[in-house]
């Protein structure tokens, strides 16, 4: 798991870097083999989504999520994510309308 200082450096390196590092962190949690790994992964994804929405613009936020879903194939479930409703309200329309044209990092 990333330390706060590491997270800050990752954020400073830009959205593309953050997309891959956060995805790898989520994958690590998923590959731990514990019973509640989906719950832990969702909790961590919630934390990342909060940070993403605070620090990056709408397009970057969607690109990061697309990287998680299409490149790393993370099994995220919108019903398990507490922050997804907020994400949906903020960038949902943009994401649906431009899903094909927005590229992952």
């Amino acid at each position: 798991m990333m330390l706060d200082s590491q997270r800050l450096i990752t954020l400073l390196k830009g959205p593309d870097w953050y997309a891959h590092q956060s995805a790898k962190e989520l994958l690590d949690i998923l590959n731990q083999g514990k019973r509640k790994r989906y719950k832990s992964m969702s909790a961590m994804a919630d934390r990342h989504i909060e940070i993403i929405m605070e620090c990056f613009n709408h397009e970057d936020s969607i690109r990061i999520l697309k990287t998680w879903l299409s490149t790393y194939r993370l099994p995220l479930n919108p019903d398990r994510l507490k922050t997804f409703e907020q994400f949906h309200n903020r960038v949902g329309k943009l994401a649906i309308q431009n899903a094909q044209s927005i590229r992952s990092y």
Partner: protein, 131 residues
């Protein structure tokens, strides 16, 4: 209401299960999703008005196709959208959000959140084939 190709295919899957022909499926889908008036024949079918349905039926409509449509209506269509003329006209006047919520609850289309996930995941989807 805008729905993605994922939701559209999910809705059309239900028509495939019931062997509803495309000539019947398109007006039904447009009625459910966009609230378009389905036309005299389909309005009568939805309003449970046998006489008016037969009077306004196209000669090419077959009993088999009608049986399939009725099976689909009975099993898949939200009760808010059929059974009498009032309900049909009210469905057309319903705000988009309400229509969407009912269709989502009925499992005919995906929720917007699920649509976002599917679209960003670039999930492949196959358009159902209707005869």
């Amino acid at each position: 209401m805008n729905i993605t190709v994922y939701s559209r295919n999910r809705l059309y899957e239900t028509f495939t299960k019931w062997d509803v022909p495309r000539d019947f499926a398109d007006p039904m889908a447009n009625y459910l999703v966009y609230g378009y008036e389905p036309g005299g024949f389909f309005t009568s079918v939805l309003a449970n008005d046998f006489f008016a349905a037969i009077q306004s039926s196209h000669p090419a409509n077959t009993v088999e196709a009608l049986k399939c449509l009725v099976g689909w209506i009975d099993n898949c269509m939200p009760p808010e959208a059929y059974s009498n003329y009032n309900r049909v006209s009210e469905w057309c006047r319903l705000p988009e959000g309400h229509r969407r919520a009912i269709l989502e609850q009925r499992g005919l289309i995906y929720t917007e959140q699920e649509e976002i996930m599917l679209a960003l995941r670039e999930e492949s989807t196959i358009e159902p084939i209707l005869y």
